[in-house]
Subunit: 338 residues, 2 copies
Amino acid sequence: MGSVGLGRVLEPAGVLPQAAWRLDASPEIGPDEVRIRVRRLNLDAASYRQLAEKHAGDGAAIRAEVCEIVATRGKMHNPVTGSGGMLIGVVDEVGPGSPLPVKPGDLVATLVSLTLTPLRITDGLAGWDGLSEQVPAEGTAILFGRSIVGVLPDDLPPELALAVYDVCGAPALTDRVIRGYGRPVTVAVLGGAGKSGSLTLAAARAAGARTRAVVVSAAERDALLAAGLADEIAIADARDPVAVAAAVGEPADITVVCVDVPGCEHGAILATAPGGTVIFFSMATSFPAAALGAEGLAADVTMLIGNGYVPGHAEFAVGLLRRVPEVRALFEARIAGD
Amino acid sequence: MGSVGLGRVLEPAGVLPQAAWRLDASPEIGPDEVRIRVRRLNLDAASYRQLAEKHAGDGAAIRAEVCEIVATRGKMHNPVTGSGGMLIGVVDEVGPGSPLPVKPGDLVATLVSLTLTPLRITDGLAGWDGLSEQVPAEGTAILFGRSIVGVLPDDLPPELALAVYDVCGAPALTDRVIRGYGRPVTVAVLGGAGKSGSLTLAAARAAGARTRAVVVSAAERDALLAAGLADEIAIADARDPVAVAAAVGEPADITVVCVDVPGCEHGAILATAPGGTVIFFSMATSFPAAALGAEGLAADVTMLIGNGYVPGHAEFAVGLLRRVPEVRALFEARIAGD
């Protein structure tokens, strides 16, 4: 059990690193650990949004709070949203017992959350203006034996690969759920113009589904129209259940929530046909709101907690990006806009 | 859309009743509504536990806070836990457009959460000592057109039927998931000696599964041993992931979480085999802890948000209670102990 990082937990004792309040982030590695020299953090969208709203967009204050969280907790685990993000860096040292397929010098992305990754920042994030989720950083991070790490592909810029890896669970799980139905299905994606949303639309279409996207603005609709990833596109506020149901129209077999704001549970449930499936891929999802909402609506739908891990998910998502230039263009525009 | 109760939402506008901060609980009914004369509330276990801990078991203070919540919000929706409970009462008036199969004078239980049920209390809960989840109450409650209500069976005491209805989603969904595998499976139930846990064990066995229970104490183990519902029983703290995994042993195909305390996500994930399913039936479940925990453990498991509604769930659960006297005995002991 050492391989899940129990030895790095400082408090409370006995929990796993993700549930811990504080981790030991010291750079000396154990026999099955790997140390990474950090280059860049990619903060989870819900976490960055919370910090930006709290500090009214004051970059210096946002930067100071991220430094404070990491110093206090030994990891970038936003105590309000409960979410983290990912990082890229260079493998520095590999313990003799590590099962991970990496060697010193590899440029890698961690595919496990920052909420369970021991992290030490040594530059005070001096290279970051606090105004974007992409955080240049110096320091060290630790990977355990039971972890997931991806060597960055040679043919993609690191920022692009990192952005894809960050959301690669959504397209892979959507693909699996579609194939489980064994018949033609309709997939509605709330937040279809975003990173996880556009990859999910591409995955749904590749799996033979009819696709509907719900987006928040005319600008997003136009971007998605140009990309041609959705058979139908409607504009609605994902937090307004009546508007979402109207936008989706005929209820979908599968609804995927890719909108990182609270309050999207009921619209997703209303938009889904009896016997259908809702996949929640937003960290802003409320468990009781989903459970009680479906019950209160007498909705016979299967509700999945979006698991960020599906075997082969990183390769699957990178493959979609390579095969569908429109998805790559959406990602590049998002990264340029960050 | 009027049938989901939008007209009862006072603030914020545009959300469904479950997401609302405040409902209009006035007793005059609309054309498709039903008014119930309340007899008893059954508070959700997580909600009652939070109130009891906050007030250190002071019954008068617990009672005052429940009255205060209902007066403020127009519903019994615990703002900390986000959960509610159910109620029993007598049908008072049925709107001419109501699709619900009830008539005035029927003794019924609401099978939708109190978090979305307009509720007015008129007796200050004078008949309740604040020391149990079972709350004698006078007042009125409103049901919408799209709702779920169960007429109480003649052959069971109302308290017993209410306790069964309160948790009837868990055995029905577990049955469906077991049958979906189409092969013999092992089902582990965390909190197997409780109400939802014991019904879930009975459902799993009836569906042909091998059953394992994890309970918190020797007293619970002995009660469950006497009932004979589990093939194996182990004692562990469900919040301790390493202990839970050791207690379950060979990972289960399906793990059902029926423990109403926070922090059970990681143990459930560790106890489940690759390709398996975790069903979260506790309102204390944290969405990010589950999603990030599975990712952090590289766990290829399907995670379900326990939907309190499965068609026929109330009849299914009452049927189990009638057919398995040991389950009935466990329920009766729990109710007597409340």
